[in-house]
Assembly symmetry: C2
Homo-oligomer: 215 residues x 2
């Protein structure tokens, strides 16, 4: 495993993904563009999925970088959640069109690029960490009984939002933006209301359910 060759394959693949999209970036094209034999790409990346995962990692890094600026700036839960979600759409934006193809690959259970796969451990913990910061840094503070589970729920919400984005063919994915601007205040409001006696039962049920399902 020479790092140089691996990196050459990786960068060539990502460039072609950007230039041609997923389907038209064949393993043969990657190898040829890099001046290598067809089989060599498979030596460093067992399947095409593994190259998609590199893209997934790249986008997540970009997202984390952009989100960090926001997270350092304070704000309430709604504002922080909303900003991080918008940053996610921004990071993905240049891939809409064939982005759909990538998410399709990523969502396949067993795929290396799946957010739940072992191979995606890095990207996943990075994403979760983002939402831990969203919650931890919120002012006013998030109610204590929600602080443990909320980050993962917000991260899952981001995955759902990405799925929506994939299907969103409105110009500039305006509907996804609208969804974010609607969901973030709603989540903020429900978190605030969860302290009230009427809703305390429901929010406890949600948390119990999350724990039960995870087990």
């Amino acid at each position: 495993m020479t790092a140089d060759t691996r990196e050459l394959v990786r960068s060539t693949a990502l460039r072609l993904f950007r230039e041609r999209g997923y389907a038209k970036t064949t393993m043969r094209a990657i190898a040829q563009e890099a001046g290598l034999a067809t089989g060599l790409a498979h030596y460093y990346f067992p399947t095409k999925d593994h190259l998609v995962q590199e893209l997934y990692l790249d986008v997540n890094l970009e997202h984390a970088r952009a989100a960090q600026a926001v997270l350092d700036g304070g704000g309430d839960l709604t504002a922080r959640f909303r900003a991080v979600l918008h940053a996610s759409v921004d990071a993905f934006s240049e891939y809409h069109g064939f982005g759909a193809e990538f998410v399709t690959v990523a969502i396949r259970p067993g795929s290396a690029a799946s957010p739940f796969s072992e191979d995606s451990e890095g990207a996943r913990s990075m994403g979760l960490h983002l939402y831990e910061q969203v919650v931890a840094g919120a002012d006013p503070a998030v109610p204590a009984h929600l602080r443990a589970e909320l980050p993962e729920l917000l991260w899952l919400a981001q995955l759902g939002m990405t799925l929506f984005w994939v299907y969103d063919s409105s110009p500039g994915q305006r509907r996804t933006r609208t969804l974010i601007d609607g969901v973030a205040p709603l989540v903020g409001r429900l978190v605030r209301l969860s302290r009230l006696p009427v809703l305390r039962g429901a929010s406890d049920d949600v948390l119990a359910l999350v724990r039960a399902v995870r087990a």
Copy 2:
């Protein structure tokens, strides 16, 4: 288009899907098993996705059939929603294992088997109709201001639940059952609470958001 040949291809494909799963059911195997030339399967079903969609339709019919018995029996929103969800998991159950592969195909935007595709109009309206009945027949009645939008939201919840099921590798998909048993009462409770002044604002926001996003 002779109906006989088409049906022969269809039934052979569905049988092989059941016996071998998605990946091992090649277009060549379907044609060979049916005693036809390779290309003929493509004459009746342009892509393999279209054959998966036949399976999707089959499962939806089975689900509708099973759910109907429940829907005719009355009950409150929680019970009806819960029963219909369980019936959905039942209908899918024999496909878990390679069911994941099918849902993967179905979720791809542009795929004929996508629940949002034109080709799936039949299966989609059938599913929506189920949840219209869930809402319309609930006793006590669902608050009037929710009656219009709730069926589609419940249908979307079913899609999400199916997605969860795909990833659920617990024995017998117990975690999905747990999720259903937790989510249904929660939805029932929130619908009831939505009448209260504190939550009336939030529930109106949800409905406004749904309408805004759809537009």
